[in-house]
């Protein structure tokens, strides 16, 4: 709460960034970036992974410091010492990763680090704390949540809203929203959009960062594209054009197709995987479906519709409470071991935690799933054979790494995902379950992924793509299944006629 602000005049300069440079070792994350933010602006920042958009916003929000360059805020030199400091002084950021703590109450989360407000002689008054939290929640329009609730009892989306509340209650002059909406369903997004609108109308300012081009074009008034740490171009609302924006993001004309070029649904007659009335209590509520060879089956819905659990169930990683998943020969996919043996592959939505061993090398990550391909008698591992196997994947997928021994944690998001693909494609998976395969991946890699899926389809493999992003589902699927509350609500066939609005109806 910046008390010094008396009157908010639209168009007044709030923040300037000039010649900001930030390097990590020899990597230049930001190169002489300058920008100006005025009252009433809702500025979108967009760019591929590693373009510097998160770096610039985190420097503004006090999370890290620039190597060179100046910032001013409200006409004064701006050099926040921490995110908390920045927030106190009027710049707040809602961060990308989860920013709440499950083990404590909602109120404690909201006022984390500010308990002195509610304490005397070091002793905290719970009542005051809860009352204050309730007021904050009410203010931004969050219902059904009260301050004394344990955070752990809230669902994912409600937690994200608490995070938003945590920042917004301080009424910063500048609100930075970093990839927040990915985690939100429609209701949550609306709460956030309302806040953005309010900020615009109150002549404060918002910096909005998102991967979702459609969303960012919808929400923002201007859009700045960053690439490799450089400011490339700023688009005004009137200039918004998806292709132009994409082109400036990747710095070249998009070569070839982005999604599939055809609009004809096709698949072989053979059923590869059969899901029969699967029930997972609390998540999946009686889903039946078939996946055919040579088919890309899309599964869409809101993030908590049960599709992610369904994905795991299909791979045998979650045991269904009812129903079963079977292969073409009737084998029941009871566990991951059976799945592996029968050439299923699974790419998790939570890549870093579930699909990769971060501390291990590219080699180890790719090789771990492909032993029957290169190990002698599926047991003895010889260095040369293993390296050859791995190098084939690295070359085939153009994984950018200094060597196959580079630790995966040092790769970019896109390359990490390529490693995961390499792991499953290399061993010749016949059925690939891809849960949000392009999450946190930049456009260049996305395109490569889509093309790979097309190639795999043409080889007769089955692909189940679970995604929260409608455009890619529509762009890639032969059939698209929509889920809601653990049930299949609708099935669409591939067609150029499909519309977002039509599909969303079945999701919410």
């Amino acid at each position: 709460m910046v008390s010094s602000v008396k009157e908010r005049v639209r168009g007044e300069v709030l923040l300037t960034v000039s010649d900001m440079t930030k390097t990590f070792g020899p990597v230049t994350a930001l190169n002489n970036v300058s920008m100006t933010l005025r009252r009433g602006d809702v500025l979108g920042l967009i760019g591929e992974n590693g373009s510097g958009k998160s770096t610039v916003s985190s420097i503004i929000a006090g999370m890290q410091k620039a190597d060179r360059g100046e910032m001013t805020f409200l006409g004064e030199k701006w050099d926040p010492q921490s995110m908390l400091d920045a927030l106190e002084r009027g710049v707040g950021m809602i961060v990308q990763e989860s920013g709440t703590i499950p083990g404590i109450s909602v109120a404690e989360n909201i006022f984390l680090g500010e308990l002195y407000q509610f304490s005397k002689f070091g002793i905290v008054s719970r009542k005051k704390l809860n009352d204050a939290a309730n007021a904050v929640l009410k203010n931004i329009g969050v219902e059904n949540v009260s301050g004394d609730m344990p955070m752990i009892s809230l669902d994912f989306q409600a937690r994200k809203l608490i995070e938003i509340a945590k920042v917004v209650m301080k009424e910063p002059e500048i609100l930075i929203v970093d990839e927040t909406t990915t985690a939100l369903s429609q209701h949550g997004r609306e709460v956030l959009y309302k806040i953005v609108d309010r900020y615009r109308s109150e002549n404060r300012a918002v910096i909005f960062i998102s991967h979702d081009l459609d969303e960012i074009m919808e929400v923002c008034d201007t859009l700045t594209v960053l690439r490799d740490g450089n400011m490339i171009r700023t688009f005004e609302k009137s200039e918004f054009d998806p292709d132009d924006i994409r082109t400036s993001m990747i710095g070249r004309e998009m070569q070839g197709d982005y999604y599939r070029s055809d609009f004809v649904p096709s698949w072989d007659e053979d059923v590869a995987l059969n899901v029969d009335n699967v029930v997972v209590t609390g998540h999946v509520n009686g889903v039946s479906l078939e996946v055919h060879r040579g088919e890309i089956l899309g599964i869409g819905g809101l993030s908590h519709c049960g599709m992610h659990t369904l994905g795991k169930t299909m791979f045998g990683a979650v045991a269904p409470d009812g129903g079963k998943v079977t292969l073409s020969d009737g084998t029941e996919v009871k566990n991951e071991f059976v799945a592996m043996k029968n050439m299923l592959g699974y790419v998790s939505k939570d890549r870093d935690n579930e699909s990769l061993i971060l501390s291990a090398s590219v080699k180890d990550n790719i090789a771990i799933a492909g032993m029957e391909k290169y190990a002698v008698n599926n047991f003895l591992i010889l260095d040369g054979r293993e390296k050859k196997y791995v190098d084939e994947q690295i070359d085939g997928l153009s994984i950018k790494c200094s060597s196959r021994d580079q630790a995966v944690q040092t790769l970019s998001g896109g390359n990490k995902q390529k490693v995961v693909f390499g792991k499953w494609v290399g061993r010749g998976s016949e059925i690939l379950i891809l849960d949000c395969p392009t999450r946190g991946v930049d456009i260049g890699v996305k395109q490569a992924m889509y093309q790979l899926m097309v190639k795999l389809k043409s080889e007769g493999k089955s692909i189940i793509m679970i995604s929260e992003e409608l455009p890619e589902l529509m762009g890639m699927s032969d059939r698209l299944i929509i889920m809601k509350d653990g049930k299949v609500t609708k099935e669409f066939l591939r067609s150029s006629e499909l519309s977002d609005a039509e599909i969303i109806k079945y999701m919410i």
Binding site: F24, G25, P26, V27, T28, G50, D228, F315, A317, N335, E336, F337, A339, M340, K341, Y346, S348, N353, E354, S355, L356, I357, L358, S359, A360, S361, D364, A367, I368, A369, M371, A375, N378, F379, L380, I381, L382, K400, C401, S402, S403, D405, Q406, A407, T410, S412, K423
Partner: protein, 326 residues
């Protein structure tokens, strides 16, 4: 992108740091020789002492690497070695056969290991805690074995011929070769490392956590059994204090040898051997320097503690985080 370059430097630095334990061992050895020369020690006896005192620890620790690799820990290793030695001693006394004794040692330690790991697997308990309980149980069982016929010891006579450094070195060589083979050249080792690196990912790659946890304990069990066998031969009199210095020292040794505490892909078999020899050489050096000083044992232990912390600090210098590690 320049990123490749950074990573190159990163991995080069990583490589150098991973050599720290070896550099440490070499330096300690050099220091030992220098001080030994000044103190005019009997080097033949000295090196024999180092081998004698390191090998059993090294063998048990080598097996334990498998458990460590999974990111788990067995606190009952010392107690298990003792039970194994007791069983071996009793069997030898009853049958007079060294081979049966060896079988008994390994069998008993395998059973103990399996109980811990299977208990953990079936009831979904943290193995660490089951081994804490196992430690008490095994100590109590050894107590019973040792005092079973009255008296406070199991005395084994007639095996002193086997008490030499060559048998120890041969057993160490064979066992560590087996471990290196399993660890570096088979599916089992790869999967163990993967499990240690990220159990969730490993599970989603079709690797059975339980199966490989039990396998790890089997490998450790073999090591303990061999350690118990050699302990029985070396000590020739087994009391409740036998193998007492093995338990926690294994932890110290493997960490000293450069094993990452969290296990995973950077696990190395040789950490056990390097670490075991390093701490024993360090002890020798301190014995030479301090044996005549009052309270020397305390001082020696403090020096060991500082060395241990310094060594681990150096070896993990690349992994500082903003948050405190847990």
């Amino acid at each position: 992108m320049d990123k490749a370059k950074t990573n190159d430097k990163y991995s080069r630095r990583q490589k150098i740091i991973s050599l720290t334990p070896i550099i440490g061992l070499v330096l300690l050895l050099a220091l030992y020789v220098v001080i030994g020369l000044i103190k005019d020690i009997n080097f033949k006896a000295g090196f024999e002492a180092i081998v004698n005192q390191s090998v059993i620890l090294a063998i048990v620790a080598t097996g334990a690497i498998f458990i460590f690799t999974l990111g788990s820990f067995d606190i009952s290793l010392g107690a298990s070695t003792l039970v194994s030695a007791c069983a071996g001693g009793l069997i030898y006394n009853a049958t007079g056969s060294v081979w049966l004794m060896l079988v008994a040692c390994v069998a008993v330690s395998l059973i103990a290991s399996l109980i811990s790991s299977v208990l953990g697997s079936i009831f979904n308990l943290p193995v660490f805690v089951t081994t804490v309980a196992m430690m008490s149980v095994l100590s109590a069982i050894s107590e019973m074995l040792i005092t079973g016929k009255g008296g406070n010891q199991i005395r084994i006579t007639g095996l002193s011929g086997l008490e030499n450094i060559w048998l120890k070195l041969i057993v160490l060589a064979i066992f560590s070769a087996l471990c290196v083979f399993v660890f570096e050249f088979t599916k089992i080792g790869r999967r163990q490392k993967a499990l240690g690196g990220n159990p969730v990912c490993a599970k989603l790659t079709g690797i059975s956590v339980k199966k490989y946890a039990i396998l790890a304990f089997v490998m450790a069990g073999i090591g303990i059994g061999l350690g118990g066998f050699l302990t029985a031969i070396r000590a020739s009199t087994i009391t409740s204090g036998t193998a007492g210095d093995i338990g926690m020292n294994i932890f110290i040794a493997i960490v000293f040898g450069g094993m990452p505490i969290s296990g995973g892909p950077r696990s190395r078999i040789y950490a056990a051997i390097i670490g075991s020899f390093s701490i024993k050489i360090l002890s020798q050096i301190l014995t030479m320097l301090l044996a005549a000083v009052p309270g020397a044992n305390g001082i020696a232990q403090m020096v060991r503690a500082v060395f241990f912390l310094a060594m681990v600090y150096l070896a993990s210098i690349n992994y500082r985080t903003k948050m405190l590690p847990r």
